[in-house]
């Protein structure tokens, strides 16, 4: 287990390093960051001054290592727009996004795992068909449009929920649903196939031959094994959700990191965008790292080998 953990950690660090390089390099996709920073109306002298000030005139690798060194120390540079520290800015906005992400993934899991289990217990039953129907529909529904339709329906027509802001938990209901439904079909399908597969294994037959009660067979012996791949998937989906929060937060005006990303992108605030990409990626890497460990812990075949 220790070796496994170290190996995973090494891999995760390497991925993080590569991602950091890419997110740094993105800045150089535009012809000249100094121009972007100075704005369109700036004079040549202003641009030159900015270039010197921020060190854009140095070789790109030197700039990267310089940036990386500071990034590791927690300094992601200064926002062009807010003129404050990017890390502080992100730190301020991240809790909202995290809260949204956690509630969305919880919603997705609570919705899709029981549905997947129910569908697997009785394949081709009504429940199975309903589950399949919902998952096919869910996969085709564009989240931004779904969000708008919910607003029209629930907020405007029925006046049940507030449309925008993040003051009360009610403000999080629609964003949670919009962010969460997109992950639900995949989790539902994986739970269903996993359960179907496990239910036809020899050890389930053994469990039944031992006279164990159906509940024990289903939830102890079957679900425990079927859930292992679902854990990985849920982690991956959680990571994707943070990326997807940009759409949801923009529509519902939730002032989280996703909204910040949209603001920064439209304002050409490159250091903030760069920092956000890095933070989101790192979060995904850390998340999948822990999911791998959790997986190994759940599956004795990996844990003890």
């Amino acid at each position: 287990m220790l070796f496994y953990t170290l190996k995973r950690f090494g891999l995760a660090s390497l991925v993080a390093l590569t991602v950091s390089f890419i997110s740094f390099g993105l800045l150089y996709l535009s012809s000249d960051p100094a121009i972007a920073m100075a704005g369109e109306t700036a004079s040549d002298a202003d641009i030159e001054a900015i270039r010197k000030l921020y060190g854009f005139d140095r070789p790109i690798l030197v700039q990267y290592f310089d940036w990386l060194q500071r990034a590791i120390g927690g300094d992601l540079g200064k926002s062009y727009y807010f003129r404050t520290n990017v890390s502080a800015l992100i730190g301020e906005r991240l809790p909202t996004t995290m809260m949204l992400g956690v509630s969305a993934i919880t919603f997705a899991i609570l919705f899709s795992v029981p549905l997947g289990v129910a569908a697997a217990i009785r394949p081709n039953s009504i429940i199975d068909r309903v589950a399949l129907f919902l998952s096919v529909m869910g996969q085709a529904l564009p989240s931004f449009w779904f969000a708008l339709m919910l607003i029209v329906l629930l907020s405007v027509n029925m006046r049940l929920l507030p449309t925008s802001g993040s003051d009360t938990w009610l403000h999080f209901v629609m964003p949670t649903v919009v962010l969460g439904y997109y992950a639900a079909p995949a989790i539902m399908r994986l739970t269903r196939t996993g359960m179907l597969e496990v239910l036809s294994t020899d050890y389930i037959r053994t469990a039944r031959a031992k006279g164990l009660r159906p509940v024990v067979v289903l939830f102890k012996h079957a679900l425990r094994n079927a859930i292992i791949p679902v854990v990985s998937l849920a982690a991956v989906q959680f990571g994707f959700m943070l990326g997807g929060s940009i759409v949801v937060e923009t529509i519902f005006a939730l002032h989280g990191a996703g909204f910040l990303a949209w603001e920064s992108i439209t304002r050409n605030d490159l250091p903030t965008v760069q920092g956000l990409i890095l933070v989101f990626s790192l979060f995904y890497i850390v998340l999948t790292f822990f999911a791998d460990l959790l997986n190994a812990w759940l599956d004795p075949r990996i844990r003890i080998s």
């Binding site: 037959r205 031992k210 024990v216 012996h221 094994n225 759940l298 004795p300 075949r301 003890i304």
Partner: protein, 331 residues
């Protein structure tokens, strides 16, 4: 018959398929007495495993079981609900499966899986259940049993896992054990050990044992009685001496020719084989199911359904109309 552990009458298993109904097991009668080993022999697909699952009421959902009598230790369990059946399974009757590698749940320790079986059927504390499990593991010849209890199935070899399966099945001291090809997946040397173990334990606990196998060598060593199955039917049934010394059904005879006999089979002499293939069991079948592969078959064989019957009180029953004397001549 106070010592009768199992009585099965008129068991049929039908499996509805797209092409028609597959009559996998047809009108089968078996019984097992206390301390007796019944070996069910036959090639793969003849319905041996379905028979054992049908007795346990563990058939796949789509299979249809028809049965006139099912008694376990003198009690009819034919009309038992699923709940009542589960009270019996692992308690009064247990089953050992073919694949020790996959028959134990990889996510739980050996101890966990043994203790849960005991606690399901006995009102026993976890501590005591663990002790019983430990004793049982030692009984099946597992060394360092207290260590094994904490281990996961993947940490044990196939032979060890099968011993664990046996120990687990014996925990509640069942009246009947059904072992479905328990040694097929194991190395040859381990096979002998496991069989020996089964036989010892059987006589110690005076259980009824149904051993399903396609290995006649195993049958000769362990069986009290033998039932030979072909294409879903028992074609011959009798004591081990009767079957081995004087096989009556052409199929049994064919099987016997397939095993080398030390001292009798000369080096270089080809072993027997049975030509042809098992007929499809989809739809209605008339006549002897072995007719197409039988060198003695007549038109009568192909049109007449023959019952399993014994010529005399103390001979085996078989399902064939050919006069054994003519059969001996041709063979």
């Amino acid at each position: 018959m106070p010592d009768r552990v199992l009585e099965v009458k008129n068991l049929s298993v039908d499996i509805p398929l797209a092409e028609g109904v597959l009559h996998a097991v047809d009108d089968l009668n078996i019984h097992v007495d206390k301390g007796e080993t019944l070996c069910i022999v036959g090639e793969s697909g003849c319905g041996k495993s379905l028979t054992s699952l049908a007795i346990m009421d563990l058939l796949p959902k789509k299979a249809i079981r028809k049965l006139h009598q099912l008694d376990l230790a003198g009690t009819s369990i034919l009309d038992y609900s699923e709940k009542q059946m589960s009270d019996i399974r692992g308690n009064k009757m247990g089953m050992i499966f073919q694949e020790p590698m996959t028959s134990l749940n990889p996510a739980f320790t050996i101890g966990n899986q043994m203790v849960e079986t005991l606690q399901r059927h006995r009102n026993i504390s976890g501590e005591n259940a663990k002790k019983t499990a430990l004793i049982m593991l030692e009984k099946v010849g597992i060394t360092a049993a207290d260590q094994r209890l904490k281990q996961y199935p993947h940490q044990l070899s196939g032979g060890l896992r099968q011993r664990v399966m046996i120990a687990m099945t014996l925990l509640c001291e069942p009246e009947l054990i059904i072992a479905d090809e328990p040694t097929t997946a194991l190395d040859v040397t381990i096979q002998a050990q496991i069989l020996l173990l089964l036989k010892e334990l059987q006589s110690e606990y005076e259980m009824g044992l149904i051993l399903i196998t396609h290995d006649l060598g195993v049958v000769a060593r362990i069986a009290t009685r033998v039932a030979v199955m072909y294409a879903g039917q028992i074609v011959e049934e009798g004591t081990v001496q009767q079957i081995f010394e004087n096989p009556m059904h052409p199929y049994t005879r064919g099987l016997m020719r397939c095993i080398p006999v030390p001292g009798k089979t000369k080096p270089g002499e080809p072993l027997g084989s049975i030509p042809g293939m098992v007929p499809s069991l989809i739809g209605e079948f008339t006549g002897c199911r072995f007719a197409d592969r039988c060198s003695h078959a007549t038109d009568t064989c192909r049109s007449l359904n023959v019952n399993l019957r014994a010529e005399e009180e103390n001979t085996q029953a078989y399902r064939c109309i050919i006069d054994p004397k003519t059969m001996a001549k041709v063979a």
